[in-house]
């Protein structure tokens, strides 16, 4: 990100955790980033970023990367706790936006915008994790919490070009 200001060159791979850790399973992306940051020295060519609910900031974070991995809580009509790897071309969004506010975001639309401007990373992978609980609470459900190591292992396999 800060390569624009020459703080440091962008790394080849970025892993983005999207969501809010104060909304139970909505925070799964942020929690996974926290786990990877604790072992970041193992991955010198990877930026791990907790993008929270910043929405459009994702557009800038994925630009010009060789690989971008987005981790987000997702309604996919699967069992709570299930993880699924997919590419944007494999899905259609059914999220309804009111277009009344900047504060609602559909990451799939942000990804489309990146594509339209030729700022799409060479490779983009999404890991969706089906939530069990979405409500104000600062901890994941037991179901997702028990599977953290499985999620880390699945994502770690993608941390090479």
């Amino acid at each position: 990100m800060c390569s624009l200001l020459n703080k440091s060159p962008a790394r080849d791979i970025i892993v983005l955790g999207i969501g809010n850790p104060l909304m139970a399973d909505e925070g799964i992306g942020c929690r996974i980033i926290e786990c990877f940051l604790a072992q970041a020295e193992k991955y010198p060519s990877v930026d791990f970023v907790d993008a929270g609910t910043g929405g459009m900031s994702v557009l800038h974070l994925i630009a010009n990367r060789k690989k971008a991995i987005v981790i987000d809580c997702a309604y996919m009509e699967m069992e709570p706790g299930a993880i699924k790897k997919f590419q944007p071309e494999e899905i259609k969004t059914v999220k309804k936006l009111a277009h009344l506010s900047l504060h609602e975001t559909d990451i799939t639309k942000v990804i489309n915008l990146a594509k339209m401007f030729g700022q799409y990373p060479k490779q983009l992978i999404i890991f969706g994790i089906e939530p069990e609980i979405i409500e104000p609470q600062p901890a994941l459900s037991d179901t997702l919490n028990a599977k953290i190591n499985d999620y880390l292992a699945a994502i770690a396999e993608e941390l090479t070009i």
Partner: protein
């Protein structure tokens, strides 16, 4: 044109609430006009109770992905007021620089992604790309600079990690500040381009007027166009300011049947906050470049057309960039110092206030002697605008009712968007189906 109108713009997804617009008219007679808001992020107030004063900023920065720096500062200032913590002149200046970055981020996003599609008659920013690709590219570039600026000082684009009561955990180097300054000089040119593009479609900004009370911060001694310091003022308060600690006397929050979000009123039955409110209370203190932008659009102090909030944001975007270029010079002339911040817990109660891009924001906390939070109260700008949006609807709809249902619906949505509301930002999950 049909004399019967039934508009029910109802947006409630599974967990993200949105504002609903309802209009019923029969035989040309308006029976119902309502702005309904089914959510407010009140649960954050419960979530900080029992937490240390050092943790408050981290938690409340998650209230909003667009205003996370603003919530961080309102909270941190409230904590500092409660515990009697002072902030150095250097940290204060760097905080204002970080806060400006969020104003630029949010304003550019609103102008480019929400308002410009309306002015270009495009349903959203994606089809706008086909109509005005260069304009969208310039907007994206300016937004990218603002994000990198937040990242540089806040340690992360969204939900900053370097802010703490009393100062910062880390600040940029002199070289990084100089690079930022050079980048901002380029951004100023981009903002000029964006202003020109918006001016070319300014004829599509509806000409609607309603005499309105405008509430914002006002800073005196020294006078400044403020987002961070000062007391509360309105165009109805005859120059008298209200101290931040008395903010409840301004907001007077109340409950209405049509909304689960609380509404606010001060001298009248509603008031507006945001860029236009700040402009109306402080316009003479804008930088020269910002005044020039306002003049391009004939935006003058006293304007009561809510659609001009977007133009006020454009002027403010130039203001924060010009001011920051100058502030970096002042900061580096004095020389950056390494400052260590040490605080200790004590009992106390304090309020903090800053201007979010979309208007004045209040936080208040009370701590026990161990520094743990026992009470919290947050009043977000969008809640303060709800009653005003309703009052605008009540005057606006009769003026446009003859234009037919589609035009009425679009213009009411445009009106809501002009307030740049925050109605759904604590969750952002995907909702997808797999293509078979």
């Amino acid at each position: 044109m049909s004399k019967n109108i039934n508009i029910n713009v109802h947006h409630v997804t599974r967990v993200e609430g949105h504002g609903n617009i309802v209009v019923n008219a029969k035989n040309g007679k308006i029976e119902k006009v309502q702005w309904q808001v089914p959510e407010a992020p009140r649960f954050f107030e419960a979530m900080v109770r029992g937490r240390s004063y050092e943790d408050i900023q981290v938690i409340v920065s998650r209230i909003c992905g667009i205003c996370s720096i603003t919530h961080s500062f309102a909270a941190t200032k409230a904590v500092e007021a409660a515990l009697g913590i002072t902030v150095s002149e250097q940290a204060d200046a760097i905080r204002r620089l970080l806060h400006y970055s969020e104003q630029l981020q949010s304003h550019v996003l609103h102008i480019g992604y929400l308002a410009a599609p309306d002015f270009f008659a495009a349903p959203s920013v994606v089809p706008l790309v086909a109509k005005a690709p260069d304009a969208v590219k310039t907007i994206i570039r300016a937004h990218r600079v603002a994000n990198a600026w937040s990242d540089l000082i806040g340690g992360r684009t969204t939900h900053p990690v370097t802010i703490k009561p009393g100062g910062f955990t880390k600040i940029p180097t002199e070289k990084e500040f100089r690079q930022l300054q050079e980048t901002l000089k380029e951004t100023l040119k981009d903002l000029g381009t964006i202003a020109g593009v918006i001016l070319s479609v300014a004829g599509n900004i509806p000409n609607f007027q309603r005499d309105t009370e405008y509430v914002s911060l006002k800073q005196t001694n020294p006078s400044a166009y403020t987002f961070y310091h000062g007391d509360i003022v309105s165009n109805d308060s005859k120059g008298k300011t209200t101290p931040i600690k008395d903010w409840h006397k301004v907001t007077n929050e109340y409950v209405v049947a049509q909304s689960t979000a609380k509404w606010a009123k001060w001298h009248r039955d509603a008031y507006a906050v945001g860029a236009l409110a700040r402009f109306n209370n402080n316009a003479e203190l804008l930088t020269d470049g910002a005044k020039k932008v306002a003049k391009m659009f004939s935006l003058e102090k006293g304007c009561c057309n809510p659609f001009m909030n977007t133009v006020a944001q454009l002027a403010e975007a130039v203001h924060v960039v010009e001011t920051s270029i100058q502030m970096i010079d002042e900061l580096l002339t004095k020389g950056l110092k390494t400052e260590k911040v040490k605080t200790s817990p004590k009992a106390g109660k304090g309020s903090g206030c800053v201007e979010a891009p979309r208007g004045i924001l209040f936080h208040e906390y009370e701590f026990d002697k161990k520094g743990n939070c026992v009470a919290a109260d947050i009043c977000i700008p969008t809640n303060q605008n709800h009653a005003n949006i309703q009052k605008d609807f009540e005057k606006f709809v009769p003026e446009i009712i003859d234009q037919g249902e589609d035009a009425v619906r679009l213009k009411m949505e445009m009106l809501v968007r002009s307030y740049d509301p925050c109605v759904s930002c604590s969750t952002h999950m995907l909702d997808v189906q797999f293509i078979k």
